[in-house]
């Protein structure tokens, strides 16, 4: 029995390994959280670049607009139809009103 302490020293290392592993799994959980955070951060960093006009189609692949996604295609057509309309007169009147106010300000100076 007195031999044990010596061999325990050896075993402790062997036993220590699984303990480390549990430690690793515990750490791993926080790793996952850290990863999730970095993924979200990465996304929010990545999105603005996707707004450049040239990358419009690239972005659609990840979002609602898969190239052959019928919903995305229809929504875009809906949008494009309205955008293609000439701007109604009421808007131009409104803008003219704003323009007048700016001119008044300029006169005051």
């Amino acid at each position: 029995m007195q031999v044990w302490p010596v061999s325990i020293g050896m075993r402790q290392r062997a036993v220590a390994a699984p303990q480390d592993r549990t430690k690793v799994t515990i750490l791993h959980k926080s790793d996952i959280v850290a990863k999730a955070v970095s993924v979200t951060a990465g996304e929010s960093v990545a999105m603005p670049s996707a707004k450049r006009p040239g990358r419009r189609d690239e972005k659609t692949a990840g979002a609602a607009r898969l190239p052959d996604d019928p919903v995305g295609a229809a929504l875009r057509r809906l949008h494009d139809e309205v955008v293609a309309e000439p701007i109604p007169d009421e808007f131009l009147k409104l803008l003219a009103e704003i323009e007048q106010r700016i001119e008044k300000q300029t006169d005051q100076e």
Binding site: K59, P70, V71, E85
Partner: protein
């Protein structure tokens, strides 16, 4: 009148005005999609523009004008929605008619069907579909406009897309198989009346 805040800023205002002009088409498209009615939508946009003009000092130059403007329009839409019954009850029967009567296009979904279906969705799903799907706004910007998390945006988008597809194309075979006993919507309504 002595402070800088009160001093007229014609140059800044002119810049603001030209930004407003540029964004009108996108605002009209967003508003039209939200309320499905051209005149109501244009009223909403004009009101939003007036509000934006009145609040132009609170806009921080260099930040996203589009997000700021969409936020004003969206807030105004919800305020109006709460106040006005005509914006709440979309006349679903009209929407139903459009849904049935719309000519089928060879390519993809019919645009009128999609507009009609949009109006049947919860507003939060409708607006996220319009912002991201139609307007090409990023998740991040949509989250900024709607004042919620990106995860919320993504789940609303996914649910909205799925619901829209069912409304336009009918339930998929898988969904039918999943609940064979339940009658389709609409059918009990026609028999009841």
């Amino acid at each position: 009148m002595s402070g800088d805040e009160d001093a007229p800023k014609p140059d800044e205002d002119a810049g603001f005005r030209s930004q407003l002009i540029e964004i009108i088409p996108a605002l009209r498209a967003f508003a039209r999609g939200l309320c499905g009615n051209r005149d109501l939508a244009d009223d909403l946009v004009q009101d939003a523009m007036m509000r934006a003009w009145a609040a132009r000092d609170s806009y921080a130059p260099g930040t996203r004008f589009r997000a700021w403007m969409f936020m004003i329009l969206r807030n105004h839409y919800y305020t109006t929605l709460r106040k006005s019954a005509r914006l709440v009850s979309w006349d679903p029967e009209v929407a139903e008619r459009i849904l049935v009567a719309g000519p089928t296009q060879q390519d993809g979904l019919n645009v009128q069907d999609v507009q009609a279906a949009l109006l049947k969705l919860p507003a939060e799903q409708r607006e996220v579909l319009l912002l991201i799907g139609a307007n090409g706004v990023s998740y991040e910007e949509a989250a900024e406009i709607m004042g919620c998390a990106i995860g919320t945006i993504k789940s609303r988008l996914a649910r909205g897309r799925a619901a829209l597809l069912v409304l336009v194309e009918g339930p998929s075979e898988e969904m039918e198989a999943a609940k064979p006993a339940s009658p389709r919507k609409g059918e009990p309504v026609t028999t009841a009346k």
